[in-house]
Symmetry: C2
DNA sequence: CGGAATCCTCGAAGATACTG
DNA sequence: CAGTATCTTCGAGGATTCCG
């Protein structure tokens, strides 16, 4: 807001929040807006899924990446991991109440991609044409 | 270098079913939810800024990363680049109408990080305690 | 001032193999 | 089935230099 002050080492250009909010906010965003997390969260929003079920949805993901992503989401309290004892090991992942609170913001972002994807595509084409000539 | 040895990374389009929407949506999300784009967009929401002004805001960003990020945002039609002829070259970056439509979804996400950061921190502490013992 | 061009590193992500 | 354990590669990102 009132951020006309320019300093070399402590930029204060942020509307309404302090530097720490901004930095930690971005750090947290990095944790949850990565390549797969949004898709995984959406998948789990409808119903709990098992490891390989998720893997099948996220076509192209490796087991390692999926494991890492699920761990991070679990650590951040977004999803829950439940081991189902049976003849074959089964692990069910489900969304937590905290994870539910992310559904709306993510949906808003996703809706944006749907609504404006054509505008973006058009802008890309124009940019590419402009820079190729 | 030969492309033979290189594993083509898996195609992102999947025939037919509902995952396709999410996949393409994710591709677009990857373009705009990267490490710096959100912060840059927020910065430009208040007012247009010049290259080094943005650089000063994004503490820690390198010139190269900033250039790449600005190019991508410009290509996607989110921001506009305007060269101001003067004794010294000046380049002003501003948000486009299309970019404006992203402000609300991003703000929602950012507000989430503010609102629930303590919950996440708590979840992390519990997870770490659980997995250390 | 606002970049482009190089060089370089370092860690994320892939491939593969093994296990409870 | 749901992972772990290694090894390797590869490319994004940092540091530096130069330039209109």
């Amino acid at each position: 807001m009132s951020a006309n002050n320019r300093q070399a080492h402590s930029p204060e250009y942020y509307p309404g929040h302090s530097c720490e909010d901004k930095a930690s906010g971005r750090l947290l965003l990095d944790q949850i807006t990565d390549k797969w997390s949004v898709s995984i969260l959406f998948a789990l929003c409808s119903k709990p899924l098992r490891f390989n079920e998720i893997k099948r949805c996220m076509d192209g993901i490796t087991q390692k990446s999926l494991t890492q992503c699920l761990r991070r989401l679990e650590r951040n309290g977004i999803i829950a991991r439940r081991v189902i004892p049976s003849s074959q090991i089964a692990v069910e992942y489900s969304i937590t109440p905290l994870g539910r609170t992310l559904e709306a913001p993510f949906q808003a972002l996703f809706n944006w991609t749907i609504e404006y994807s054509s505008d973006v595509t058009l802008a890309q084409a124009e940019f590419d044409a402009r820079t190729t000539e």
